[in-house]
Each structure stands twice: as structure tokens, then as C-alpha cells.
């Protein structure tokens, strides 16, 4: 079975094949023998090519959170991302979205204004902090959708940069 995950900006494919010993995994053309030692309550102990790894796992409809040796990872099934992207009309880094719910404090640019990458477009107040919302790329501000004092939801589109 094939699985595709996105972690940050990168996507990964992995193929899992059942074997007598448990599984054979293929990632980027490298093969790994995987033995499932324990699998309980999101506590995984896997022997991968003979080396034992203990990994904590929790998941929720195509989203995976994993902890391993003091590091935390988040993977999302690629199908989930494609679907979400299609729904929001192409997405990508032209959209300026609210990183969390809050209130617009100060819109610093106007419709049609030319901005640089990283330029401060507006101030969002959330959890008693002032958060600067920056332009994801240089271009022209279009579809400026909010004004001072307006409440916004997480991921709500605030403006587009053309």
C-alpha cells in the first residue's frame, strides 16, 4: 500500500508491503525491514533494519502527530491537502491568511498598493498579543477583505497578493 505525506513544504511517498516478518517499507527507493515489536495506545516500538525505535503516535483523519527522541513531527496525508487547497480556490502563497482567530487592529496597506515580501500588511490582535501579518511575497494587494476592528477566524483570507 502506498502512502503520501506532507511535512512542512516537502511531500514524501512510502510503500508498505506485508511480509512474513511484518513489513517491508520502501522510501525513495531504499528498502527497510520493519518489525512491529509493540503497538498499543499510540506507543509504537518498531525494529527498522534491526534498530529499535520508540515512537509516540496520535492521529486524526489523515493528520499524524509523532514524537521521537525529543523531537515532534506533524504529517498530513497529501490527499487532505489537495482537497483543502481545491476548496479555497488554488491557495498557495498568494493568500494572506489569519494564523489564528483574532481581531484586526490596524490595516497598514490599501487596495492596489505595491508591497515587498515580508512587508507588514496588518496588525492582528490575538491572545492579548499584537501579531504582525506579513506579505508572503512581493506584489500588489488585491481583495483586501478586512478592516480595522473586524473579528477574523483562523485561516480566514485577509487579502491576496498578485
Amino acid at each position: 500500500m502506498k502512502f503520501s505525506y506532507q511535512s512542512g513544504e516537502e511531500s514524501y511517498s512510502i510503500e508498505l508491503e506485508k511480509t512474513a516478518q511484518d513489513y517491508l517499507a520502501t522510501v525513495r527507493e531504499e528498502r527497510y525491514e520493519v518489525e512491529v515489536v509493540t503497538l498499543a495506545d499510540g506507543d509504537l516500538q518498531l525494529k527498522i533494519n534491526g534498530m529499535l525505535f520508540r515512537i509516540h503516535w496520535a492521529g486524526d483523519s489523515g493528520r499524524h502527530w509523532l514524537a521521537f527522541e525529543g523531537q515532534d513531527y506533524y504529517l498530513e496525508k497529501v490527499e487532505n491537502i489537495r482537497r483543502a487547497s481545491a476548496q479555497s480556490g488554488g491557495g498557495g502563497d498568494n493568500l494572506v491568511c489569519a494564523p489564528m482567530p483574532g481581531q484586526v487592529r490596524d490595516v497598514l496597506v490599501a487596495e492596489g498598493e505595491q508591497v515587498e515580501k515580508g512587508q507588514n500588511i496588518l496588525l492582528l490582535e490575538a491572545m492579548k498579543m499584537e501579531i504582525r501579518i506579513l506579505a508572503p511575497r512581493e506584489g500588489q494587494i488585491v481583495n483586501l477583505a478586512v478592516k480595522d476592528g473586524e473579528t477574523v477566524d483562523k485561516d480566514q483570507v485577509l487579502a491576496k497578493v498578485k
Binding site: 502512502f3 509493540t38 495506545d41 523531537q71 515532534d72
Partner: protein, 508 residues
């Protein structure tokens, strides 16, 4: 009023980890607990733990945890005789303390007047100056922009613009040159207005190589004032503490004595009773120290002091409020070992430390000797945007500083919070940093040394992680959370079919 009987029932006017922590001590003392909860906290840990829980309103703090009216009403309705304010929210609100007293209840903390006096940073500075406690060069006069700018010039840049009504790092701005002053002042005022409902500002010389060292004080109502030594809180991110320890690796016996005496003088000048903390800023080069402010409540980092002194500070708060005298004198106190605390926040250090929200699908708290966890969350809980994103504190104690750092590393690696982003990996990176390990840090250490820090995940997902995710999907179908029944009936090869936690394969 001197009370010799202990309280029958205490209302804890707070939420999250501190409410849980206070309730636990009340339970040990045989005191009934009343919890208050907002709409967002219906299933919260503190709500479940309380003997009685009273619903006080919508999630927005002004409708619930900041509503003096609703909290007093809850106390009256349940017949509580004491109110513990925790930290944050109304804990340093003089009006609240006064309202509790007016309602015929005992406020577990200092008097309303002391809270008011120390809460006004301008007045507190002035009082300390009069008492001969060293204060940082600064200004606490008229705060129109022109006056502030003039004072800033006199004191000399860099300057710290601080809310007179504030605390906790909110509304503070460091200004390095005069031309930035106007904008920084405006931003600071906005944040202060929001956090404290008060825009007044004071100024302080910003020491570029400074350490934040505070002293815990404990004073009874009969005039005995003691300090329980210091805590070093220099590991801060944008003025918010993230790691604290005691003893301070910077203090020697002489400086500790000087600062301890100054802390006692500050507390006595303020007529302080109950538990409080005197915060100092120490110039790392000159070793001079200056009074910063006094916090008239329990601090977030109080567990470090508890672990090295063996005292339960909440218990002492309650006993002092009930009229008990402190049985120990300053020279009888002697701390032992080294304690360290890390604050686990729901935030994304790889993305500007933006607060994170989500469901805590998996929580594993560390254990073992010398490990304490003060947590307000449980597995399955929703973490939202309404409140401070502190999930839990991991506090450890060991014989010495090197050992306690190793223990914290072990404890943090054992700690699991899955379902949203936390700063766990970031905390591990900080305690592994040679600067931290050497104890040679200042309050700008984190901001400077970790400016480009990214979690390992930023380099991509390692193979082990991809394999684990795929196997979890393959085996678990829906989700593998702790409910126990994951048998896959059809597949004889599935580990699920062989039962829970059964070790297979052997060999190797």
C-alpha cells in the same frame, strides 16, 4: 481578625494548572474546594477536580475569570470562607481583594492596599527608593509622550517602556534609539490597554547584560517576614519566562545575603503579609542589583522553591491567611539541591512562537525520582485561544546543577504532547546549549542565541517517522488512541489480533 480555625471551604478563582495545584493542597488539608469554570472549561481538569464547580460565564475572561461579581456570587452561594486567587486574572487586583473582604470572606494573599500599592509600578518604585532599596535608573512621572521622551533621553538608551499597571512581560518594549520611541510607545500602550485596561507607562534603563533574579518572601500577620531564597529567571523569550531555577548560578554567598536583605526590606516597607516575590534585575558585569517590582501573589515558578525548601507555599498561604504564625526564623532556613522548571507552551517556535490550538490527542507526563509535573490539561482536551497557552510545568530537583539538567533532559524526552505544536523540542535545545549549561546567561540569551532556531522537522521527516505513520494507518484504521480495543479480526498477521502490548519477534 485572627482566626485560629482553618478554612472549611476555599474557592479557587482561577483555572488550569494553578487551580489544580491549589486544589490538591486544599484536599491534603481537609479543606473543601469550589472551582469556577467558563464555557470553554466545562470539561477542564480543574472543573472535574473541585468538590463543587460553579459555572461563571462565557469563555472570554471578562465574562468569567475576570468577573469579580460572578466570583463573589459563586463564593457566597457555595458558602466558601476563603478565596485563593492563583496567579494572573484577579490575583493582583486590589478591587477584587477588597470585594472579597467586604463579602465577609478571607482573601488568601496580602491586603488590598498592599496589592494596590505594589501593583502600581510607579508608586512601588518610589516607595522602594524612599526605603533605600536600590532601584534601576528610571522614570515614573507624567507619562505624556513628550515627558517620556525627554526622560528617556536623560536616562540614556536603550530604554525599556513598561506598563505602570502591568506584569508578565505584556506591553513592554525595548527602544534602542530615539526615533523608534513614538511607535514603540504606541504599540506598548495598545497592548497594555488590552492586557490591563491601563495605558500608563514608566521607563527603566534597559541593561543589556542583565539577569533576572527574584526572591520569594513569606510573611505572617504577626510581623515575621522571611525570604525563601532566590530563583533565577533569565531564560526568557520576549520578556516571558520559559525556564527558571534555584539556586541562581550567578549568586555567591555575599550577593545572596545582600539581595535577600533587600528583599526583606522591600517586603517590610510594603507591610507585606502572605506569599510574594521581590524581583530584581542584576547587572551581570558590575554585579549591582536593582529592584524591579514586587509581585503580590504566587509566581508560576514557585514549585522550584518548594522542591529545594521542602515547603508547600500554597499551604503556607492558607495557614498564614488563617492567622497562623511562621514557626521558623530566617537563619533556620536552608535550601537543598538544585531545582529547574520548564514551561511547556502550546506554541510554535518554528513559526514566530505563534500560539497553537488543537486537541491533545496524546499526553504522557514524565515521572521518576525528583520529577514533578504541574499540569492543567489531560489527554483528549481541546486547547483553544481564550487563555494563556501554558499546558504544563515540568519541575525537577537533583543534587546539583549538572544532574538537574540531565534529569530535565530525560523528563522532557519522556514528555509527550501530541495533537498540537508545543515548545518541548525548543526547551530541550535551550538546556543543551553550552551557554545555558555554563550558567552564563542574561535575559537576552534566548532572543539572541535562538533567533534562527528551527525544529528538526524543518529539515524534513526522517524515514522512521514516515514508516511509523504508515504502519499506524495500516494497523489502526481509525485512530490508535488509548481506548484499548484495536483488534483486527480478519488479519492474522496484524499485531492487533494478538492482543495489546504483546511483544513479538524476540531476537535481536
Amino acid at each position: 481578625m485572627t482566626m485560629s480555625r482553618p478554612f472549611n471551604k476555599i474557592l479557587i478563582a482561577n483555572r488550569g494548572e494553578i487551580a489544580v495545584r491549589v486544589m490538591r493542597t486544599c484536599q491534603e488539608m481537609g479543606i473543601e474546594t469550589v472551582g469556577v469554570y467558563s464555557q470553554a472549561d466545562k470539561e477542564a481538569l480543574h472543573t472535574r477536580l473541585a468538590d463543587e464547580a460553579v459555572f461563571i460565564g462565557a469563555a472570554e475572561p471578562s465574562e468569567s475569570y475576570l468577573s469579580i461579581e460572578k466570583i463573589i456570587e459563586a463564593a457566597k452561594k457555595t458558602g466558601a470562607d476563603g478565596v485563593h486567587p492563583g496567579y494572573g486574572f484577579l490575583s493582583e487586583n486590589a478591587e477584587f481583594a477588597a470585594a472579597v473582604a467586604t463579602a465577609g470572606l478571607v482573601f488568601i494573599g496580602p491586603s488590598a492596599e498592599t496589592i494596590r500599592l505594589m501593583g502600581d509600578k510607579a508608586e512601588a518604585r518610589a516607595l522602594m527608593e524612599k526605603a533605600g532599596v536600590p532601584v534601576a535608573p528610571g522614570y515614573q512621572g507624567k507619562d505624556d509622550e513628550a515627558a517620556l521622551k525627554k526622560a528617556a533621553k536623560e536616562i540614556g538608551y536603550p530604554i525599556l517602556v513598561k506598563p505602570a499597571a502591568g506584569g508578565g512581560g505584556k506591553g513592554m518594549r525595548v527602544v534602542t534609539e530615539a526615533k523608534e520611541f513614538g511607535d514603540s510607545l504606541a504599540a506598548a500602550r495598545r497592548e497594555a490597554e488590552n492586557a490591563f485596561g491601563d495605558q500608563r507607562m514608566i521607563l527603566e534603563k534597559y541593561l543589556t547584560n542583565a539577569r533576572h533574579i527574584e526572591f520569594q518572601v513569606l510573611a505572617d500577620k504577626e510581623g515575621t517576614t522571611t525570604h525563601l531564597f532566590e530563583r533565577e529567571c533569565s531564560i526568557q523569550r520576549r520578556h516571558q519566562k520559559i525556564i527558571e531555577e534555584t539556586p541562581s548560578p550567578f549568586l555567591d554567598v555575599g550577593l545572596r545575603k545582600q539581595m535577600g536583605d533587600a528583599a526583606l526590606a522591600a517586603a517590610k516597607t510594603a507591610g507585606y503579609t502572605n506569599a510574594g516575590t521581590v524581583e530584581f534585575i542584576v547587572d551581570a558585569e558590575s554585579r549591582e542589583f536593582y529592584f524591579l517590582e514586587m509581585n503580590t501573589r504566587l509566581q508560576v515558578e514557585h514549585p522550584t522553591t518548594e522542591l529545594t525548601t521542602g515547603l508547600d507555599l500554597v499551604q503556607w498561604q492558607i495557614r498564614i491567611a488563617a492567622g497562623e504564625k511562621l514557626p521558623f526564623k530566617q537563619d533556620e532556613l536552608s535550601p537543598r539541591g538544585h531545582a529547574l522548571e520548564c514551561r511547556i507552551y502550546a506554541e510554535d517556535p518554528g513559526n514566530g512562537f505563534l500560539p497553537a490550538t488543537g486537541t491533545l490527542h496524546k499526553v504522557v507526563e514524565p515521572g521518576g525520582p525528583g520529577v514533578r509535573v504541574d499540569s492543567g490539561v489531560v489527554q483528549g482536551m481541546e486547547v483553544g485561544v481564550h487563555y494563556d497557552p501554558l499546558l504544563a510545568k515540568v519541575i525537577v530537583v537533583a543534587e546539583d546543577r549538572a544532574r538537574v539538567i540531565r534529569k530535565m533532559k530525560r523528563a522532557l524526552q519522556e514528555t509527550v504532547f501530541l495533537g498540537l505544536t508545543t515548545n518541548r523540542e525548543f526547551l530541550l535545545a535551550v538546556i543543551a546549549h553550552p551557554g545555558f549549561m555554563s550558567g552564563i546567561v542574561s535575559t537576552t540569551f534566548v532572543d539572541h542565541e535562538f533567533i534562527d532556531w528551527k525544529p528538526k522537522a524543518a529539515n524534513g521527516a526522517p524515514v522512521e517517522i514516515l514508516i511509523a505513520a504508515a504502519i499506524a494507518e495500516m494497523e489502526g484504521k481509525a485512530s490508535l488512541t488509548g481506548d484499548g480495543d484495536h483488534r483486527s479480526e480478519d488479519d492474522e498477521f496484524s499485531p492487533w489480533a494478538r492482543g495489546m502490548g504483546f511483544r513479538m519477534g524476540g531476537g535481536g
